[in-house]
């Protein structure tokens, strides 16, 4: 392992590997990435792989749209099959108030150039023949939304970064970070010390622990989110179906399995990552109302991962007040994978050019000292 680097990235998920790739692409290859487990072992490798652009804030919509442009070219750019499919996202509701919100959101999304639209229950049934349209009032649909295989995207980023000269160290755990007069000096791992000036904190749900190593307090909290996969079936579902009200999402992957989850509003913040029976019961109960026939599918596997949640459900990006060369890239609150292609480019720009092509100032850690407007479209 190298003992010095211009930049040390902590975390080998979509964010860390994406930053490594984009730094190298911009010509900065004196970079070492450290990951305590295997690449994508955390939230990235455990998530549903959904790629959605239907958000409620201008910044998130733009970021997601820019990311989709990059996902569309990724197979060629990374020379790997990321199993990307644009089957759309069908956002359903049975609630009049929520339907009114949908209208407002679609207006904003259309203004920004997104191809989302409001549709009737019978139009939704044309997209998903198994849908029980009696249980919904309306929906929004965006054809260019979709999903990919997160593990593969991470492998692609890491492989290309390595080819360009970045060192990627998996199974390497950060033990401490040394500083002098508020300047970072080195990162100490269980496999040796790396002298560096700049650290990127891309440790997902463990970011607050990493920041804590040099006395920086962060508001991020880990929350367990459970997920399951069925056996493989012939193609029966095009879009990802989600409901913000019930917190459910599910889609059919390229290999045929249905993967889905449901959030639990009563889940306390913790590092508990065990699977529960209660989750499958809740998932099945809501699934049965939306697509009754899917209750006959066989579940083959369930697991869990962490949402790295901030008080306003928006990520924490950029410099850290007090220790400028600690760059934050965490707090995605359950939608990190889908915006990573663009976010990691912005983080790389910040490091290489000192400025970004899209403003990220309002996502700085210090925003939590004042008032902030939250993203409400969080699912799962």
């Amino acid at each position: 392992m190298r003992n010095k680097a211009e930049v040390v990235i902590i975390g080998g998920g979509i964010t860390g590997c994406g930053v490594a790739y984009n730094l190298a692409k911009m010509g900065l290859t004196d970079v070492v990435l450290v990951e305590k487990n295997f690449l994508s072992s955390g939230a990235t490798g455990r998530c549903g792989g959904g790629i959605r652009q239907q958000f409620t804030t201008e910044w998130n919509i733009k970021l997601a749209m820019e990311s989709v442009k990059r996902f569309e070219k990724m197979n060629d750019e990374l020379d790997i099959d990321i199993e990307y499919e644009q089957g759309g996202y069908l956002v359903i509701t049975d609630d009049e108030k929520e339907l009114e919100e949908f209208k407002k959101n679609v207006k904003l999304q259309n203004k920004l150039g997104l191809d989302s639209k409001l549709i009737t229950p019978s139009e939704a049934k044309e997209i998903v023949p198994y849908l029980n349209e009696d249980n919904i009032l309306g929906a929004t649909f965006c054809q260019s939304d979709g999903h990919a295989y997160p593990f593969r995207v991470v492998q692609g980023y890491a492989k290309k970064a390595k080819e360009m000269g970045v060192e990627i160290n998996k199974f390497t755990e950060v033990k401490s970070i040394k500083k002098e007069d508020n300047k970072i000096k080195s990162v100490v791992t269980d496999r040796g010390e790396i002298k560096t000036n700049i650290v990127v904190n891309a440790a997902g749900a463990y970011s607050r622990e990493i920041a804590g190593m040099i006395g920086v307090e962060m508001p991020n909290k880990p929350f367990r989110h459970e997920i399951l996969a069925t056996e493989r079936y012939k193609h029966i579902l095009d879009p990802m179906i989600i409901s913000f009200k019930y917190g459910i999402y599910f889609s059919q992957q390229k290999h045929g399995e249905i993967v889905g989850g449901i959030g639990d509003p009563d889940e306390p913040s913790s590092y508990n990552i065990k699977s529960s029976l209660k989750f499958v019961e809740r998932f099945t109960s809501v699934l049965g109302k939306i697509v009754p026939a899917f209750k006959n599918l066989n579940i083959v596997r369930q697991w869990a991962g962490f949402y790295d949640v901030t008080p306003d459900a928006k990520p924490i990006l950029g410099y850290t007040e007090g220790i400028d060369t600690l760059i934050q890239a965490n707090g995605y609150s359950g939608h990190g994978f889908m915006v990573a292609p663009r976010v990691t480019e912005l983080i790389a720009e910040l490091i290489v050019d000192g400025k970004t092509s899209m403003p990220i100032d309002e996502l700085n850690l210090k925003r939590f000292e004042g008032e902030t407007v939250g993203e409400v479209y969080v699912v799962g």
Partner: protein, 87 residues
């Protein structure tokens, strides 16, 4: 050609190639090749793959990083998990 993972049709050669590419744990092989993620839940193949990994890496099976066994032990239809709203 020897099939190691029967649920996902993965051969011995593909597994050896993946280990050579740097997928050196059961978790990574599961994600890369889908071995052990089919209906048999890895009952047939994971023991064989552990042996292959240990041999390739010059380690004992006990030294290898373990993979988490995911519920359910056998595929089950979702409806048997019940639905409180149903009669």
């Amino acid at each position: 050609m020897k099939i190691v993972c029967r649920c996902e049709d993965v051969t011995e050669e593909e597994i050896i190639e993946a280990i050579d590419q740097g997928y050196t744990t059961l978790d990574e092989l599961k994600k890369h090749l889908r071995v052990g993620t089919g209906p048999c839940q890895g009952r047939t193949c994971l023991k064989v793959i552990e042996k292959m990994l240990a041999k390739k890496l010059g380690k004992t099976i006990d030294d290898l990083k373990k993979t988490t066994v995911r519920p359910p032990l056998k595929p089950l239809p979702l409806y048997i998990y019940g639905d409180e709203d149903e009669e």
